[in-house]
């Protein structure tokens, strides 16, 4: 069984982003997708803190800390990009102008519910950021995550047990072991990693995958 590593996963997601798409990449793992966007496609990255046409990280020493992404890393602006305020930024999101949002997650349920903002532990300090807006605002929401937690529990679930971020909003889940399409309260396997069978995935997730 050959798991995709995190770079492979980012590459895999990037391959599915069409030219001309307006895309928001969530903080953490999804940020890596930017590194693998096909060079022959013009894709517009939006960052919730007010830029469209986000470019790659600057060379070390060239950082401008007033030009950052949602993860507060220094970035650059592509030719043709622009700046705007937070109101307009979230209008882009909530108003359905973003074609695709890629998020990390603690759990995704087969009905498309996503939990990615809070572990629910009583002593945890909650922080939501733009996660709830991103989850429900884009035309399509993709999740990228390892399929299993470190102790082997599936993060693709029948029903989320962690506090929800958004309801019935995820349409596809990219993992290290398979890619799942969520439709009509079912998860359909649309791609498997090398040496991973349908039965393996059913066993790992405990779900009636089709």
């Amino acid at each position: 069984m050959k798991r995709l590593n995190r770079e492979d996963m980012a590459w895999r997601v990037a391959r599915d982003i069409p030219e001309g798409a307006y895309v928001n990449l969530g903080i953490g793992l999804p940020t890596k997708v930017a590194n693998y966007l096909p060079k022959d496609r013009e894709i517009f990255l939006q960052s919730e803190n007010g830029l469209l046409g986000m470019g790659p990280a600057p060379a070390p020493g060239d950082e401008d800390w007033e030009l950052i992404n949602a993860g507060k890393q220094a970035v650059t602006l592509l030719t043709g990009g622009c700046f705007f305020h937070h109101g307009d930024s979230f209008a882009m999101m909530r108003g359905g102008h973003i074609d695709l949002c890629v998020l990390g997650a603690f759990q995704v349920a087969i009905n498309g519910d996503i939990a990615n903002w809070h572990t629910g532990e009583p002593d945890a300090i909650p922080a939501v950021g733009g996660a709830m807006d991103l989850a429900i605002g884009a035309k399509k929401t993709f999740v990228m995550m390892e399929l299993l937690t470190r102790d082997g529990t599936s993060k693709l679930v029948e029903r989320c047990t962690y506090p929800l971020t958004g309801l019935a909003c995820v349409s596809r889940v990219y993992t290290d072991l398979a890619v799942f399409e969520l439709e009509g309260n079912r998860a359909r396997i649309i791609e498997r990693a090398e040496g991973v069978s349908h039965d393996d995935l059913r066993a790992m997730t405990g779900l009636a995958l089709c």
């Binding site: 030219e19 517009f44 469209l52 043709g80 622009c82 209008a91 108003g95």
Partner: protein, 229 residues
């Protein structure tokens, strides 16, 4: 390569269909996308719902669209003007439906659509005829009316300069409804005086980011400063 420019107004509006809802920018004639409207008239589709601040001035733009009988309903704030005779005649003949909206509510409802809000409580219009039958609520001692978003299939707007990604800047008070309508329509078509190379528009001064614009049509600047009635 993404290039949102379209060579002609005719090509840009070609998929506007019978019964479509169409936002049209402009306050009076300032910011009115005359050439796009002319192309829409030439298209010969009807039963349109038009969202514009006014209901046409003189013989051009929205007035011409109404004159030609293409408008089933108009949503606007200020239809009656000295030169709104085409609207006046069709309205009096019962040939056009009017939804009269206070100008600020018109703007706020268009903005609500663009921003994905489901409804807004606005104080404007409370207790007046224009709020009759609408849900109201007193919030913090102020009376409000519940108003819903105004969306559209298309927005036709006029900007000053645009680029192939759809970024736009405007000119003086011709800006008016352009930026907010661009956000509220499924397909926004902007006519511009000129298309400039990508990067020519300073990223700090872009008023409408390209994400809100689907088509950009270079028209030339002949109509700037000469659109008065």
């Amino acid at each position: 390569m993404i290039d949102k420019t379209v060579a002609s107004a005719e090509a840009a509006v070609a998929d506007i269909h019978d019964g479509a809802s169409v936002m049209i920018g402009g306050f009076g004639t300032a910011g009115m996308p005359d050439e796009l409207i002319d192309a829409l008239i030439a298209l010969e589709v009807g039963n349109l719902t038009i969202i514009n601040n006014n209901a046409g001035n003189g013989e051009t733009g929205v007035a011409a669209l109404i004159r030609e009988g293409r408008v089933r309903k108009i949503i606007c704030s200020f239809p009656r003007q000295a030169d709104s005779h085409h609207f006046d005649a069709r309205y009096r003949a019962g040939e056009i439906e009017l939804e009269l909206v206070p100008q600020g509510n018109l703007a706020a409802r268009i903005q609500a659509a663009g921003a994905g809000l489901g409804a807004i409580f606005t104080p404007t219009g409370f207790g007046t005829q224009l709020a009759e039958g609408k849900e109201t609520r007193t919030i913090d001692g102020v009376d409000h009316v519940l108003e819903y978003p105004i969306r559209a299939d298309f927005a036709l707007i006029k900007a000053h300069e645009g680029d192939r990604w759809g970024n736009l800047v405007y000119r003086k008070t011709a800006r008016n409804f352009g930026p907010i309508m661009a956000m509220a329509a499924r397909t926004t078509i902007a006519q511009v005086a000129r298309v400039v190379p990508l990067g020519n528009l300073d990223p700090e001064v872009v008023v409408t980011p390209g994400i809100f614009v689907q088509r950009v049509v270079p028209i030339g600047s002949h109509s700037i400063g000469s659109t008065a009635a």
